[in-house]
């Protein structure tokens, strides 16, 4: 009787882990999707007074800032798109196998880790370029652009934070999976 009770508890704990796993995967899917969309549609046009010839008065020209102009931002969009599609695929796989297939869960842990590395490197690249855009770099005469394109910069920052939260979710997924493995040991 006592052992039976124990077993029920073990089963409950296992299913709660699976439930957390599903919730975290769904969260990762949502966060990376939002990050990819927010950065993907990021575009701002402003009229900037440019002095083309020093003797003439400055001319007002419309200047557009787009995501596609900066390679680091394109990398973040692509990385988030990959992580998002992977989250969807893994959700389908888990629901299809009901989490009982051990090989599938091992492959999912391994791919989760790859997603952590991919997302973190993209966040690093975007963050570094974004800081240069925000503060400029006086040593190499790279001027800041965020005083002009304020909305564009805010959107980049939001996308970076969303993506960061998504990668933390993937990290938590790994912790959860390893905890489950560790408890079985």
């Amino acid at each position: 009787m006592e052992t039976e009770y124990k077993n029920v508890e073990v089963v409950n704990r296992k299913s709660s882990f699976k439930c957390k796993d599903l919730v975290l995967r769904f969260l990762a899917l949502a966060l990376t999707l939002v990050a990819a969309v927010v950065l993907g549609v990021d575009k701002q046009t402003k009229t900037v007074a440019l002095t083309l010839v020093p003797s003439l008065p400055p001319v007002d020209l419309p200047v557009t800032a787009k995501t596609a102009q900066m390679s680091a931002f394109v990398y973040l969009v692509i990385a988030n798109a990959i992580a998002c599609s992977y989250a969807a695929t893994s959700l389908v796989l888990i629901l299809a196998t009901r989490g009982a297939n051990k090989l599938v869960s091992l492959i999912l842990i391994i791919l989760d880790l790859v997603m952590v590395a991919l997302l973190f490197s993209a966040i690093g690249a975007t963050g570094a370029v974004g800081i240069i855009g925000y503060q400029g770099n006086s040593h190499v005469q790279w001027d800041k652009v965020c005083n002009v394109f304020d909305k564009f910069c805010h959107q980049v920052a939001i996308a970076t934070f969303m993506s960061f939260a998504g990668s933390i979710t993937y990290l938590l997924l790994i912790v959860l999976a390893v905890l489950t493995l560790h408890k079985k040991c």
């Binding site: 900066m70 009982a100 973190f120 690093g124 570094a128 370029v129």
Partner: protein, 202 residues
């Protein structure tokens, strides 16, 4: 599904105290502790070389400001926050690797092998450091790419045509930190596969 669990878990729970007293049949990973130590040594070497290459990257060049007037301007890694972050992250990884390398080697020498708890902690910290090193590599790579190609849309000029040796050092450092993050990835994969095999044997 529930029946599967009820049949598999009680023997494991019952065997728990018994196994502590008699460890011989336990799976201790075969080759994997040796591979683990080797990967950690490789990780230490790559991070250390990457730090040294980055720190010694200073280059001074005469920059012509006006005709007949040229002043020496240095390019240092401290000028970009991304490179400072790379050096800091690699230093943390390097120090961490020394500690874990010693612990891993000690575990290799003791007959019982690495305890599961130690492996678990290694795994968590390895995964965390993987994130930190990957972010640092991405940051330095992103800035170095702008330095190499420039960006015409924001008016950021390329600097690698002027500071060639500085850029070469930076590229080498980024490449080495990429290798070290791949090594960390392999380390975590190795630990996970060992844990997985341990559970599969039950």
């Amino acid at each position: 599904m529930a029946s599967y669990d009820t049949t598999s878990s009680p023997p494991a729970a019952a065997e728990e105290p018994l196994k502590r007293s008699a460890p011989p049949p336990e799976y201790n990973g075969g080759f994997s502790p040796v591979v683990d130590v080797a990967l950690r040594v490789l990780l230490f070497a790559t991070t250390l070389v990457a730090i040294i290459v980055m720190v010694t990257s200073k280059q001074t060049k005469l920059i012509p400001l006006a005709p007949g007037l040229a002043i020496p301007l240095p390019a240092k890694f401290q000028h970009a926050p991304a490179f400072i972050y790379l050096v800091a992250a690699l230093s943390v990884t390097s120090l961490y690797t020394i500690v874990t390398c010693v612990l891993s080697a000690l575990a290799l020498m003791t007959p019982g092998g690495c305890s599961t708890k130690l492996q678990f902690h290694f795994l968590m910290f390895d995964a965390l450091l993987l994130g930190i090193v990957a972010a640092a590599t991405g940051a330095a790579g992103g800035v170095a790419y702008i330095g190499l190609k420039g960006n015409s849309h924001t008016g950021w000029n390329k600097i690698c045509n002027t500071y060639d040796s500085f850029c070469f050092h930076t590229a080498a450092s980024v490449l080495l930190s990429l290798i070290s993050s791949i090594t960390l990835l392999l380390l975590v994969w190795l630990s996970i596969s060992v844990l997985y095999k341990k559970t599969a044997r039950r």
